[in-house]
């Protein structure tokens, strides 16, 4: 399996590789049975690293957990009331060596975990670009109760399916046109919140072509459970063909279509309203999409465009500056220095 790892991890191999394999095996037969559902059956480098980290933390924690699981029943039974053979020391209440052990071991475990946390959190920062390759820009906008995937460089947008080539990483920017939502493709990697008036970022990559579950995990009303999509990684060629298809079958995202998009309702409601009969089941394709859509949706909540204007493209250098300062606003709101932008 071509596992992508940006940095060999300290101490990983040191902890019982055999047990790790056993755990992975049992996970493979259980949770990850359905393909593309879980990070325990990772389909991309981020999820793979998360899975490794998951097992590593569990293994290390067993140092603290296993003694409790063994000694609790053992001690209770050995020193049960009726066992007159066991020593009874009712006034024994302290021992320095034991004290050192019960404080020392958890401290040692936490020190190791802290080093891991620091490294992993920086390595797998969803804001950090994954590789130097030419990534595909996708802008994700959360509506009640569906996601809109805008490809600003291709001037298309889709719903129900997020198509991308497996040989390029995804450079995702997110916002919400409604309440807070959380964008998540478990088999590929991290989830991140999408919030109105603010922009968050996420970088993901798939190892190879495949179809993975995508969803919203933040409850946002009655259509929440239905707010799923498919993330489809394709070959480079397959992606080019798919974009052509979207262009051929899509409907323009004009004011009328946008009203349908932003109205409360599920994907099927949008499909019905835009007469997407020629599009594949469970998808809606849009063409003529403004490259400024995400920025405009954000501006809406910051005293900018009204909802009827958000589909208009006005990209100009001046507008670009506005967008940038806006991102700075979101950045400061999320507690990150604006310098992190780019």
């Amino acid at each position: 399996m071509p596992t992508f790892r940006r940095r060999p991890h300290i101490g990983r191999r040191a902890i019982g590789t055999g047990l790790l394999a056993a755990l992975a095996l049992s996970a493979g037969s259980g949770p990850a049975a359905a393909e593309g559902l879980s990070f325990l059956d990772p389909q991309g480098p981020v999820a793979a690293a998360q899975r490794d980290h998951f097992y590593a933390v569990i293994l290390l924690m067993l140092v603290v957990v296993v003694p409790v699981l063994i000694f609790t029943p053992l001690v209770a039974w050995r020193y049960r009331y009726r066992n007159h053979g066991a020593r009874y020391a009712p006034d024994w209440k302290f021992s320095w060596p034991l004290e050192a052990l019960i404080w020392g071991v958890p401290v040692a475990v936490v020190v190791v975990l802290s080093v891991w946390i620091w490294q992993e959190t920086h390595d797998l920062d969803p804001y950090a670009p994954l590789a130097a390759d030419k990534s595909l820009r996708v802008e994700v906008i959360g509506y009640d109760w569906k996601w809109l995937f805008v490809y600003p460089d291709l001037h298309i947008a889709t719903m129900g399916v997020l198509g991308f080539p497996s040989d390029r990483s995804l450079d995702i920017r997110l916002t919400s046109a409604s309440v807070m939502q959380s964008f998540f493709i478990p088999a590929l990697g991290s989830q991140i919140y999408a919030m109105a008036g603010m922009r968050t970022k996420l970088h993901l990559k798939a190892n190879r072509p495949g179809t993975f579950l995508g969803e919203n995990t933040q409850y946002n009303g009655k259509g929440f459970h239905d707010q799923k999509f498919r993330a489809r990684a394709m070959t480079a060629r397959g992606f080019t063909d798919w974009v052509k298809q979207v262009r051929a079958k899509g409907v323009p995202l004009d004011a009328k279509a946008y009203d349908v998009v932003r109205a409360k309702g599920g994907l099927t409601d949008v499909r019905r309203a835009v007469a997407g009969g020629s599009m594949p089941p469970g998808t809606v394709y849009f063409t003529d999409v403004s490259a400024d859509l995400l920025a405009n949706v954000m501006h809406q909540f910051n005293g900018g465009a009204s909802s009827s204007e958000v589909i208009v493209s006005e990209r100009s250098p001046a507008n670009d500056t506005a967008l940038r300062s806006d991102a700075g606003h979101a950045a400061s709101a999320t507690g990150e220095p604006p310098a992190r932008e780019e």
């Binding site: 933390v57 309440v179 009655k222 809406q300």
Partner: protein, 701 residues
Amino acid sequence: MTLHHLLLGRLDLHALPFWTMIEHPTHETIVNGTITTAAAGLEVLAAIVVIALVTRAGKWRYLWSEWLTSVDHKRIGIMYIALSFVMMSRALIEAALMRTQQAFGLGGGFLSPEHFGELFSTHGTIMIFFMAMPFLTGVINFAMPLQIGTRDVSFPVMNSVSLGLTTAGAMMIVISLALGKFSTGGWSGYPPFTEAAFNAGVGPDYWIWAVTLSSLGTMMSGINFAVTIYKRRAPGMTFMRMPLFTWTALCTAILMIFAMPPLTVATAMLALDRYLDFHFFTNGSGGNMMNYANLFWLFGHPEVYILILPAFGVYSEIFSTFSGKLLYGYTSLVLATMAIAVISFAVWLHHFFTMGQNASVNAAFGIATMLVGIPTGVKIYDWILTMFRGRVRFTVPIVYGLGFMMLFVLGGLSGILLANPTLDYQVHNTLFLVAHFHNMLIPGLLFGMLAAYHYWFPKAFGFRLDERWGMISAVSWIVGFMLAFFPLYVIGAMGFPRRTVAYFDPVYRPWMLIALAGAAVVLVALASLFVQLFVSIRRREALAVPAGDPWDGSNLEWAIAAPAPEYNFSVIPDVSDRNPFMIAKQKGDAYQTPAEFQDITMPKNSPLGMALAVAGGALAFGLVWHIWWLVALSCLGVLVAIVGQGFARDCEKVIPAAEVRRQHEAWLRTVAASRAVPRDLEGEPANTGLAARDRFSQAAE
């Protein structure tokens, strides 16, 4: 504005749970309407039955003067726990309903999404604010003053007000079942979803005022407990001589004082947004929901330790008592408790690692979160070492305790996983998280409180609880918990979001069915608790422990009769070490007649708590339904009650020394007539509350 609006605000026939199904009869509205109507009907019926029974028994005056207006910390504690049991029953039935829905939720199920949303919101809100909080507040109220050797808390009337406000908050949720709909925004009520722009109905308002009333009551409880522990310890009881449960009560009280106000502020700001068009947490006009998330979890994380610390205190008591041995590592446990209390204020951000902070901020809070794991781990080992070289009796509290330790470490393991921002990105908002916090709260808090209930019940009522039914309940809780929540870890790791009414992938279904079986076992556990209470009341003669020390206890609460006299101690004891009662028994100077008795001054009953409960409840109800005359009237009522209290002069009563002497001597006669039982007869009728000194004879062998 019509007359209807003037009189009833937005309350009309649509608020009735069956109205929608009459107006729009579809399969969905009929199924959901029937369930809600049946539940509301049950509630109304229960209320009518209770009122009828009290009336028939002619007990209204008794109820009013002995309970509702009582400022006795023990009575208030018992009422808190009674409230907790009632609310727990409702929230558990809701949980079982949700498990049933999800077990059959492949492609739909039978509940509507809105109904499911109300269920998880009321379940969470009740379990945190109206089950867990009243339970631990009740236990602290009952046991802490007895443990430190005082006659009441520092502010007895305020104690009654705390109970009143908490009850009024609980009533909001009770009423919401029969009138209108509750919030679907979960127990955390995140805006902007709960803002008027997205949820204009009464649901979020019910949530806001229920939680606000409860948070005010809890903050006052915190002040009361802290001041009581600081100022009213018996002479000689230095801090390092306090029982460990009292230590955890102190830390909990401090957390309550500092953690509840952010919640009150957050709900008040949300109310301003909703009622007066402010923009604190709205999408537009400069609002930002991130501020809410920070405020809420600034409360929410210390809250987790408010919930768990008293349980840790209970476990410290019972492991020592039922092992017949001193607590191992007292100082260590005190330090660990304080450490947890302090660190708990520095971890709140781990509830939203996924909000887009930079990696360093996330990592810092992740590490802080894991630091809490250290003192917690130490405590677990301290309890194991307390059993080590002891003589462990497998009573109901010990079974809860053993179940707790082995399950809690697994919850700790999943907690450490969640503390890693990298892993939180994967399991946040999924059923993995739900499994984790239930794994902490059920074995941690609930088992601890049920152990405390079993442990101190004899001190409250003078008879023990039936062991057999208690054991059935404890084992059912443990097994039911494991069946209900371990599958959720698996499903959560498979990316299943929490609060999901239905799903489309059959892979989840087998796990959901196991969880449903677990829910059924948990219902058995709850039913067993009620059977246990019923059986115990019937067998109260056989289970009576009038001498007052059924478990061979170490602390002051066991040095008095059971049930404890109103004034707790005939004479305030002098304390010269930890475990004062054990030492007294050891030296043979327990059960003495004091040289002289004195008159005891106790606070008189006060109707203020009830007045504020009614006025506060009416105020909240008026605000929810926009009945402004009721709002004005109840504000006036609150004002009059508080100002009126200031004019109350005759607030104390005196219990004459002769009466104290009479009761004390009667108790000593009972003690003298009691047979001292060795510990292997602890669960038998022979145990009337006088412990044989086998502990020391054993040690001497």
